[in-house]
């Protein structure tokens, strides 16, 4: 596999796994938004997610995607670091690029940390214990202010990560060009905001309203 | 009979090159592998020659003082490259290109060489397109052209305002292909410091590795000088900071005759100079004269007010403006050739009509072009009764598309918006037509030593037309030298490798080392630039656009004094076995200080005005250059005899068989 051992190939791999996670996030958000529809809606959605064969097949693939994206990200970051052994004493990077684009590893690793928490809080109980009312379970969790706070911060970080990641992945996969450039950039911003606000609004809604 | 043999083939002019190619000696492909060629300089001429010779099978060693062949100063050529393609159907032909070039050169170039240049010009365009040079195209996908000074047809091909860059990158890419194959051995950051002559033949060079300071010997069966012109003798010019005459001058000192050193081109459209700190002048492409109109105020009081910064040029009414080129040269107008346009600017400024604080600038105004294009665009877009603002906006958009990068460059340097106030321009040294004397085969008077591109003298006579330098560089490198060098090398197939441990190499290396040691140990008081600036001032004031016998005599004296002072008082810090930019400059300026004197001597010797060489004593009542054909229809080739002042003149008579010699008129 010469392709994936090259810098461009590795980046392509990063972009592909990233785009896969982008799709997953959207599905996840749609499922979560059913929380606003009350217990019945969410429980039905939850049941669907927990039993649909396609989703079950995709679960390990998704896990693999996460792991691959994270590991490759770390490898690439290391390679990039050693590409400039002596740094600048004065570097005005904000003049030419966005903080979010330069700090994907920071936002990425923090999201990774949150992912652990998330898996412990939801995924494992959902899978291992018999919870009949998923809706209740979720609402209960968001009564905890610390948890809600972490949750919101994580999704702001995720939004930042996506703000660069979305359009970056479309450049790396070669989809961007002069014509689509604007559209891709705007879509990236819109998507990131939707994801960040969508997930956070659920947390905030249940914390404040309930 | 002169000892100069130009080796021009017999026969009608249009058959000379073909016949010559058919009859010269060739080197068998298998034998080419055993032959080494050294090329000094990797601009358009050197780069294209290196690539082509390597493609043919020779082992090429190419040298550049820059860190990459791609940085040679050919890259700065903006406007375009001429070729007699006649794609526009405006009556162009090889003959017309030939005629325009001869006439543009004020009948001081060698007819046969110029015809050959015109003949191969078409192949250059074909070759460059095949290489992937992105020339400008029209909406039908075919190549676009524009007009340049001194011609009545549109034959200039271009790639935005970066034609030289694109052509050089084309040659560079061809070189890269050969470097990767090992056929070209590239020596970046190396400077040639002498040519080595063995038994009367050029057999190698001494070069300095500019990073380590090491002095190296390199041998070859032939040496090609493609190191460009000597315009930096003026200190301020449009040349690159590193452009130098050392390779050509060292070749001259080893026996190659130097021809017509006084033919220098002063380009009319450069950004005027600012203060003493200025290190270089920036050219604004001649293509701007397609659309810009050149003027100065007609009234002295307006000029005075402009000089004091009290008047806005836009406030000067049309009737108080003097469009002097249109007035003096109605048929060519703003597209009059460079020498004529430059002189006309100097004439107006000397008369007190200059428009900036130094009084050394004229306007290049795009207002009427903006109006013209604006109205045209309004028509095209079907806008009925457009407002004046709309017309200006539309017109400015057209101008921006055509010259945007140049306007931006101007704005950065001068800090004024050329869309709104007219650009200020003034002539500056840009190109040197003179150079090493070469025969029809491009060989100098030293066997096996060739000179191509701007480094030789052959094709532009006393003045070069715009967009012809790129043409000549590539013609020499791609299509002339690769043939003619074979004629000479055919006798070298059994020679074998040239050893570098011979006394000739040793001696040359020793002389170089001694000179470097002298510089390093001289406990001087002034930096190299101090002397270079002094030389430049003498050259500009007395050997510049207008020359007089008196001024030239003074210049010769003054240059000699500066040279003596230089050798006594130059100061070089640092070490010689290390990167030392001051040491590099010292060597170059030492050579300029000798060349400058020969330059002035040649100008003094040529008692006539022709092209870029304007002797104030020789002008018509209307102030035009007056040639003295009976006495000066020759190439002045100078032989070095130990001192520039004692250089010996050899004349190559110029015969014009295919063209009628007449006064050069652009009226």
């Amino acid at each position: 596999m010469g392709y994936f051992s090259s810098s461009v190939g590795r980046k392509f791999f990063m972009a592909l796994t990233g785009l896969f996670l982008v799709v997953f996030l959207l599905v996840h958000l749609i499922a979560n938004l059913t929380l606003f529809g009350g217990p019945d809606a969410f429980n039905a959605a939850s049941h669907f997610m927990g039993t649909n064969p396609l989703i079950q097949i995709m679960q390990p693939v998704l896990a693999l995607g996460f792991v691959a994206h994270i590991i490759m990200g770390i490898i690439l970051e290391y390679k990039n670091m050693i590409s400039r052994p002596i740094g600048y004493i004065k570097n005005n990077a904000n003049a030419n690029s966005k903080w979010t684009s330069r700090n994907m590893i920071v936002t990425g690793l923090m999201i990774f940390a949150f992912l652990f928490l998330h898996i412990i809080n939801y995924f494992i109980p959902f899978k291992t214990t018999e919870i009949h009312n998923h809706y209740e379970f979720v609402v209960e969790l968001f009564k905890n202010p610390i948890y809600t706070f972490i949750y919101v911060i994580a999704f702001i970080l995720l939004g930042m990560h996506l703000m660069h990641g979305f359009q970056s992945s479309l450049t790396t996969t070669g989809i961007r060009n002069r014509k689509y450039q604007k559209c891709i950039e705007q879509m990236g911003v819109a998507y990131s905001i939707i994801i960040a606000i969508g997930f956070s609004s659920i947390a905030l809604w249940f914390y404040f309203v309930n | 009979m002169s000892i100069l043999n130009s080796k021009v083939p017999e026969g009608p002019i249009k058959d000379k090159w073909t016949n010559h190619k058919n009859h010269i000696n060739l080197v068998n492909p298998a034998n080419k592998r055993n032959i080494d060629v050294i090329i000094i300089g990797t601009g358009l001429a050197g780069g294209s020659a290196a690539a082509t010779l390597a493609e043919l099978g020779y082992n090429v060693k190419a040298f550049a003082y820059q860190d990459s062949p791609r940085r040679a100063h050919s890259i700065a050529a903006q406007g375009g490259i001429n070729a007699s393609k006649n794609y526009m159907g405006d009556g162009d032909s090889d003959y017309r290109l030939f005629y325009d070039t001869i006439k543009g050169g004020d009948f001081r170039s060698r007819e046969s060489n110029v015809y050959r240049l015109a003949e191969v010009s078409k192949s250059i365009i074909d070759q460059c397109v095949a290489q992937g040079v992105p020339f400008a195209r029209d909406y039908g996908g075919l190549l676009d052209t524009r007009s340049f000074g001194g011609t009545l047809v549109s034959r200039t091909f271009y790639a935005k305002g970066q034609t030289g860059q694109q052509l050089l990158l084309g040659a560079y890419s061809a070189m890269n292909r050969q470097i990767a194959k090992g056929k070209i051995q590239m020596f970046n950051r190396h400077e040639m410091l002498d040519v080595v002559i063995v038994n009367g033949k050029a057999r190698g060079i001494i070069a300095r590795d500019l990073v380590t300071g090491e002095i190296e010997r390199h041998s070859a069966h032939a040496v090609v000088i493609a190191s460009g012109g000597y315009g930096n003798v003026y200190f301020l010019s449009t040349m690159a900071m590193g452009s130098n005459a050392t390779a050509a001058w060292k070749a001259h000192k080893k026996g190659a005759f130097f021809a017509n050193p006084c033919y220098t081109q002063i380009h009319p459209t450069c950004i005027p100079r600012g203060g003493d700190y200025q290190s270089k002048l920036t050219l604004m492409s001649e293509s701007l004269r397609n659309d810009g109109r050149i003027w100065v105020p007609a009234k002295l009081e307006d000029a005075k007010a402009l000089q004091e910064g009290k008047l806005d040029p836009n406030k000067i009414p049309e009737e108080d403006r003097d469009y002097y080129l249109e007035r003096r040269y109605p048929s060519y107008g703003n597209l009059a050739p460079r020498d004529i346009s430059s002189r006309a600017a100097k004439e107006r400024c000397d008369a007190g009509f200059g428009v900036n604080k130094t009084g050394e600038a004229v306007y290049l105004d795009f207002a009427s072009a903006i109006q013209r294009y604006g109205k045209l665009q309004a028509n095209i877009q079907g806008i009925v009764n457009p407002s004046p603002e709309k017309i200006i906006a539309l017109g400015e958009a057209v101008i921006e598309e055509k010259y945007g990068n140049l306007f931006q460059m101007y704005e950065k340097i001068i800090d004024a918006n050329p869309y709104k106030t007219p650009m200020m321009i003034y002539p500056a040294t840009h190109y040197t037509m003179g150079g090493l004397w070469v025969d029809y085969n491009l060989m100098t008077t030293v066997s096996g030593l060739y000179a191509i591109g701007e480094a030789n003298f052959s094709d532009h006579g006393a003045n070069r037309l715009g967009a012809s330098a790129l043409m000549q560089g590539l013609a020499d490198g791609y299509f002339v030298l690769p043939y003619t060098i074979g004629d000479y090398l055919a006798s070298d197939i059994k020679t074998g490798k040239i050893p570098t441990n011979t006394p000739e190499f040793e001696e040359a290396e020793k002389a170089i080392k001694e000179r470097i040691d002298f510089f390093m140990n001289n406990k001087g008081t002034h930096s190299v630039d101090y002397f270079h600036k002094k030389l430049g001032k003498v050259m500009w004031d007395k050997v510049g656009m207008g020359r007089t016998a008196q001024g030239l005599k003074e210049a010769i004296e003054e240059i000699r004094e500066i040279r003596e002072d230089f050798w006594k008082n130059v100061k070089i810090p640092g070490k010689s076995d290390d990167m030392n930019t001051e040491l590099e400059k010292a060597g170059r300026v030492a050579d300029f200080l000798e060349l400058g004197e020969l330059f002035a001597k040649d100008a003094l010797d040529r008692n006539e005005s022709c092209g870029g060489h304007f002797r104030e004593e020789y002008q018509t009542d209307e102030g035009e250059a007056q040639r003295v054909d009976e006495q000066f229809s020759y190439v002045a080739a100078w032989e070095y005899t130990g001192k520039p002042s004692e250089a010996k003149l050899h004349k190559e008579e110029l015969k014009f068989e295919s063209i009628e010699v007449k006064a050069r008129s652009y009226k």
Partner: protein
Amino acid sequence: MNLTLKIWRQKSAQDKGQIVEYKVKDISDHMSFLEMLDVLNESLVAKDEEPIAFDHDCREGICGTCSLHINGEAHGPDRLITTCQLHMRTFKDGDTIFIEPFRSKAFPIIKDLMVDRSALDRIQQAGGYISVNTSGNSQDANAIPISKPNADESMDAAACIGCGACVASCKNASAMLFVSAKVSQYALLPQGRIEAKDRVTNMIKQMDKEGFGNCTNTGACEMECPKGISLNNIARLNREYLVASI
């Protein structure tokens, strides 16, 4: 104006190097940045000190020789220019200016502010050309019409001057913008299509070998590029490379 300069000085590739502070006085607004350094160098020579080595040649923004990381940006704070086109009017009296060399593992320092960018040459040698010999018999230049938008876009990519500002600005020291400009120039022309696959594959291979980092599309290169080479070229490079690998 009077300025404080903090300049990286390093005797040779092996030397460690450090920032040295200099003061310059009476600098004119109209000077170019390099002319300001000339003034400083003249004063150093007068004091028998070694002048600061920096690369420069054409001083009109086209040869790509000049470099310098000025106040944290390649070619200084202004846009679409090279260092030699940067003018002192960009700065104010009393400013402190940091001047550092372009930094990358692939650009070893030669001396002071001078770096070795031959890695970029080697990438070009790996495939940045169209394999056509000089013959004088190539087909007529107008034999293959090329659509104006393609010709123009090819020209825009070809405008790259190989200065290395993209590498210097990139947080990863990636040379993708440079490589993509060359690949794009040829990819957009019919003449260049014939070798397109080998070209992109070989150039990327060489790029990786030289030790440049990976592109993460931060866009810093595009912003700092003196010739405004677009990030779209990087997308095209990725596309070309993907197609070449399938």
